[in-house]
């Protein structure tokens, strides 16, 4: 075991896969010599050299298109899009090219690649560098979508994503980069499509993703200590494939469902899960499912304003408590 930051876990996860498979290559803006603007890829250029770790121009379409062409013909590229907000300038590849070529070609082509990106708020960067856009990707048939919340999950899910034969969008949360965690030694390989119950409880299920996971955990502790409410917290981790069995199983035990989502309210990932639960576990529920989300507004830059819109520990506690009448 060693203590590692989420940031360093990114480089370790990529290094683990590049050392294992010479077909894994890595490209993006400032990722090589500079080690990434978030310093999440420091050391990879020195370890694997300029043929495998490549700086690109500011050309997001070229980055993702090149990743796809390489993937179609035998490599396993990892492409970085620096901020997930920039998906909007290269969305053709995410929405039209990666996920459709296999289907349209009747199974002839493949697209085994990973797009990793800095997602989420907390850096006071304003509305074009702070969004949580995992729901943009969740809605596209043919993609897989993961968002780890711990350093160990970063490494394990990165390995799973690189080894997966489908295109995987890998959301790293910018505000988690400095977070530390105990990480096992040796190779770490996780599985896509698996949620994790990170706290067991009997009174309510709280689903969370990425930065919202530590907040949900802290809220659960306070609900227990201050209000005697025992919450189960599930780290959803993988939006596609979605581990509905873990989610439905938890709701079946606690009979109450809360989602904690950083994405803006409309069509957030929690809406889909609530609809699945309503459809398949309605009679397990003792009360209406509750979505705790960022309001449907662009994100403000000022700290005092940004802090008001993201779901906070206090808001989660208040909302669960009010809903349960505790």
């Amino acid at each position: 075991m060693a203590e590692l930051t989420y940031r360093d876990a990114v480089a370790r996860g990529i290094a683990q896969e590049m050392a294992r498979d010479p077909d894994v290559v890595f490209l993006g803006e400032d990722v090589a010599k500079a080690g990434g603007v978030f310093k999440a890829t420091v050391g990879l250029y020195d370890q694997f050299g300029p043929l495998r770790v490549r700086d690109t121009p500011i050309s997001e379409q070229a980055i993702l298109g090149a990743a796809m062409g390489a993937a179609m013909t035998g490599l396993k590229p990892i492409a970085e899009i620096m901020f997930s907000d920039f998906f909007a300038v290269c969305f053709d590849y995410i929405a039209n090219e990666f996920p459709k070529s296999r289907y349209m070609s009747n199974g002839q082509t493949k697209c085994p690649l990973v797009v990793r990106t800095g997602n989420g708020a907390g850096s006071r960067f304003g509305a074009q560098h702070s969004q949580s856009v995992e729901n943009w990707c969740m809605m596209i048939p043919g993609l897989k979508v993961v968002a780890p919340s711990t350093p160990t999950d970063v490494i394990g899910l990165m390995a799973a994503a690189v080894r997966d034969p489908d295109p995987v969008i890998f959301f790293e949360h910018k505000s988690l980069y400095p977070m530390k965690g105990e990480v096992p030694d040796g190779e770490i390989v996780d599985a896509l499509g698996t949620a994790r119950t990170v706290r067991t409880g009997t009174d309510a299920t709280i689903l969370a993703l990425a930065l919202m996971v530590p907040r949900a955990l802290e809220a659960a502790e306070r609900l227990k200590v201050e209000h005697g409410v025992d919450c189960e917290v599930v780290d959803v981790r993988s939006l596609v494939p979605l581990d509905t069995q873990t989610i439905l199983g938890s709701v079946g035990r606690t009979h109450r469902l809360f989602t904690v989502e950083e994405n803006p309210r409309l069509c957030g990932w929690g809406a889909e899960i609530v609809s699945i639960v309503a459809d398949e576990a309605f009679y397990d529920l003792d009360g209406p499912p509750v979505r705790i989300t960022t309001p449907h507004i662009p994100l403000p830059a000022a700290d005092i304003l940004e802090d008001m819109v993201l779901p906070t520990v206090e808001r989660i506690v208040e909302r669960v408590q009010r809903s349960l009448g505790a």
Partner: protein
């Protein structure tokens, strides 16, 4: 301005003489490929009029020499990346006419069994790595395939075909710069047929030659060729492929040509000035090439045999497609993911 550009180009590069660098066998191949495309595309149009080709289709009638000239210069492992106007390039790599027409007719014998349609023809075994219907999308993708070749030391070249309209979208410029900086073995082929869909390309472009006049921005040579002369196309392709295989980076080639039909099946092309089509038909690539064959002493009987043979193949393909069933519905949920299925949850 646009048609002037076309006429400026047609006077270019006319070599001749017996026993030149191309030779009889390759010339017969170039001719045959052009005739296959002409006959198959004409048949696609006829079948559309009979309501047997569904959806949309974008024909390359009049542009056959570009597809034939590049395909004839390609090695089997070279890769083609095409646009929605991709029937010609797919046929030129040797994909059977029946598979192409079957896809256009949305039958079970289609190249992708009806899952892709006219705009997405793909045949990996033939090196046709897809036909892309979002303008410009495939230029970066071709860069990626070329990057793989460079990284692995493979000697194949990625060849990316697109229209004049593509030169005004961002992905074109991103890809050209990217390919030049990384010195990738990719060849970008602009088929300048003078019209961006329904609008003359000259009306919406700041330079006369939409591709070639941008080449200097990426440190590339300015290349404009007569795209209706299969010999000129073939030679330009050979030069670019040799450069790519030698590790000297990408090329951008602008081929001046003209489409005889509208942009798509929905377009009667009434925006063209009177007489323009007739003028270009005098420079029909197949007509030019029949004269070329004669000039090199290739007999009418050989030409007639190719014509008859191709017509028979297209006739037989048509009948096979008409007799083929629609796609079986059990393919609806296959191949969304690599496991063959579409499951997004457990």
């Amino acid at each position: 301005m646009a048609s002037k550009a076309g006429h400026a180009a047609v006077s270019m590069d006319r070599r001749g003489g017996i026993n030149d660098d191309i030779g009889e066998e390759k010339r017969l191949e170039l001719y045959r490929l052009q005739v296959v495309i002409r006959e198959a595309e004409q048949r696609a149009f006829d079948l559309f009029l009979q309501n047997l080709v569904k959806g949309t289709s974008h024909l390359s009638l009049g542009q056959e020499a570009v597809a034939a000239g590049f395909a004839a210069a390609m090695q089997p492992k070279d890769l083609s990346f095409c646009t929605y106007r991709g029937h010609a390039h797919t046929l030129a790599r040797g994909v059977p006419v029946e598979a192409v027409l079957g896809e256009l007719m949305q039958r079970d014998n289609g190249l992708m069994r009806g899952k892709g349609g006219s705009m997405h023809l793909t045949s990996e075994p033939h090196g046709v790595m897809g036909s892309y219907a979002i303008i410009g999308a495939h230029l970066p993708i071709a860069c990626g395939a070329a990057w793989r070749a460079q990284y692995k030391g493979d000697k194949d070249v990625s060849v990316c075909f697109f229209g004049d309209g593509t030169t005004n979208i961002g992905a074109f410029h991103e890809a050209l710069n990217f390919a030049a900086v990384w010195k990738l073995p990719v060849v970008f082929v602009c088929e300048n047929n003078l019209y961006m869909e329904y609008t003359p390309i000259g009306d919406v472009t700041a330079v006369q030659h939409p591709a070639a006049d941008r080449a200097a921005s990426y440190g590339l040579e300015r290349i404009v060729i007569d795209g209706n002369d299969a010999d000129a196309v073939y030679r330009a392709a050979q030069t670019a492929f040799a450069k790519a295989r030698a590790g000297h980076g990408p090329s951008l080639i602008e081929c001046m040509t003209y489409r005889h039909s509208g942009h798509s099946r929905a377009d009667p092309a009434k925006y063209r000035p009177e007489g323009e089509l007739e003028k270009w038909k005098e420079r029909d690539p197949i007509k030019i090439y029949r004269e070329r064959l004669k000039q090199f002493g290739i007999g009418d009987d050989q030409v007639a045999k190719i014509d008859a043979d191709v017509r028979r193949i297209v006739d037989e393909a048509t009948e096979a497609c008409k007799a083929a069933p629609p796609p079986s519905t059990d393919i609806l949920f296959t191949d969304v993911y690599a496991d063959g299925g579409w499951a997004w949850r457990n």
